[in-house]
Amino acid sequence: MIEMKNVKVVYQSSDTVALDDVSMSIKEGEFVFLVGPSGSGKTTVMKLLTGEIRPDAGEIIVNDFNMRTIRRRKLPKMRRTIGAIFQDYRLIENMNVYDNVAFAMRVVGAPHRQIKKRVPEVLELVGLEGREKRMPNELSGGEQQRVAIARALVNNPRMVIADEPTGNLDPVRSLELMLLFEKINEMGTTILVVTHEKELVNAFSKRVIAIEGGRVTSDGMDGYFSYEIE
């Protein structure tokens, strides 16, 4: 669950207003696309949601944590409620597929037996069964992103946020990935996908929040049509 009210973020170093008076509300179990061109403020929203930065004004609640006032040592606990996915996959190169996923469970102190049971489950869910021993560089881009998704899901987060997850994938793989997100959403997990890929967004009838110049310009079920970049 995400609640943003009148959020403002100013990057002091360049004196840039990244977000200005942004409000949005995403309920438990929703599937939402956050769209906008480069420099519109999408990444800043992601950083706010993961606690990398704090707002200069306004309120943000993410999964019941107040992100404006949250204490630094509470951040790990908050981050365990979300699964984050990035364009560049961010896998650990010298760990195999199994360990890349299991590692996220070790971090939260899960018992060994539970890890052994859960990791194959998620790998099967994302379609990577039988590839446990492969190293990241032996996998295609789409497969690497699936490992990242498995890692994001392994601790049963309440919400998955994905920053340009299809940025490095061809259209077919991108569509497959979105179908996977849809499947995960149907299992009850809230999904927020940040993207600028119009066709992909329009292939799904989902809620689309458009952002430009640090402001929300539209929010509805009308797809990406209401939002013109080019």
Partner: protein, 286 residues
């Protein structure tokens, strides 16, 4: 977490090897200079001890009366040892040093009872000489003030040079070691960022680095100790011993082994653990 530490060493094999090698090299260089300095100091001390003062007792005093002066002499500041030498002993010493012909007809009455006095600080020799001369029963004092001055000067120069050298080496070593560790952890910043992203606490991230630093530190310190001792043994047994006089002997290996071991271990574990934790500090701020 201990398993994570070991896993981390094996998965980052080359950087671990580089860190251990650098720690080892720095410790061996620092240790060698420190041991050299220690030995030079010991040698200087021996030279200082050889520059003793001779205080001759008034010949009108009997042996008992002459011996009675000793407590007075021991009271003088900076006097480290006082040894009474009778006329007869002094004569025997002369006989040992010179030929029979030269000493023919000389008996102990030619000589005075005397005290051989060693002092702590050569720079205070003039004051001590004056105090000795003022002691009742002492007729004459022989003290080589020129030698004392030279010894003090050399000793000061040696101390300054060795301290400066050790300070420079320590600075360079710390710089090299911390940079090696920074480099080793720089490769891991992505890994740390991922750990943070999936909700790892700073403690969880730090622990493998602490364990890794501990293991690499023990390894680096232990290997450096073994190498340093081997080197010292070689220098003592093969190079210095056969060619030198007694005063030039190095400190025996068994006397320095424990202090060197403790110093190396403390330094390398500190560098390994503190260096590692310090290097990742910035990556934890996300």
């Amino acid at each position: 977490m201990i398993r994570e530490g070991f896993r981390s060493i094996t998965t980052h094999g080359f950087m671990s090897f580089a860190s251990v090698t650098i720690i080892m090299a720095c410790l061996i260089i620092m240790g060698s200079v420190a041991l050299l300095t220690l030995n030079i100091h010991r040698m200087m001390n021996k030279i200082e001890n050889r520059n003793e003062i001779m205080a001759y007792v008034d010949e009108t005093l009997s042996e008992e009366e002459a011996r009675a002066i000793q407590p007075e002499l021991e009271k003088i500041d900076n006097v480290s040892s006082v040894r009474f030498i009778t006329r007869q002993e002094a004569l025997d010493n002369f006989k040992d040093d010179y030929s029979e012909d030269m000493m023919e007809g000389v008996d102990e009455t030619w000589l005075r009872h005397r005290y051989e006095i060693q002092i702590d600080d050569q720079s205070l020799m003039p004051q001590i000489k004056a105090s000795l001369e003022a002691t009742p029963g002492i007729a004459k004092v022989n003290a080589n003030l020129e030698n004392a001055k030279i010894i003090v000067r050399i000793s000061n120069v040696v101390t300054i040079i060795s301290l400066v050298l050790i300070a420079i080496l320590a600075f360079i070593s710390i710089f090299i070691m911390s940079n090696t560790i920074k480099l080793a952890t720089f490769n891991r910043r992505e890994e740390i960022a991922i750990m943070k992203m999936v909700g790892a606490t700073n403690h969880f991230i730090r622990m493998p680095f602490i364990i890794e630093g501990l293991i690499l530190g023990i390894l680096g310190g232990g290997l450096a100790f073994a190498a340093e001792m081997g080197l010292y043994h070689l220098v003592t047994e093969r190079i210095v011993s056969p060619m030198s006089e007694n005063w030039f002997q190095l400190i025996p290996l068994q006397n320095i082994a424990l202090p060197v071991f403790v110093a190396f271990m403390v330094a390398s574990i500190f560098v390994g653990v503190f260096g590692g934790v310090n290097a990742i500090k910035n990556y934890l701020k996300v």
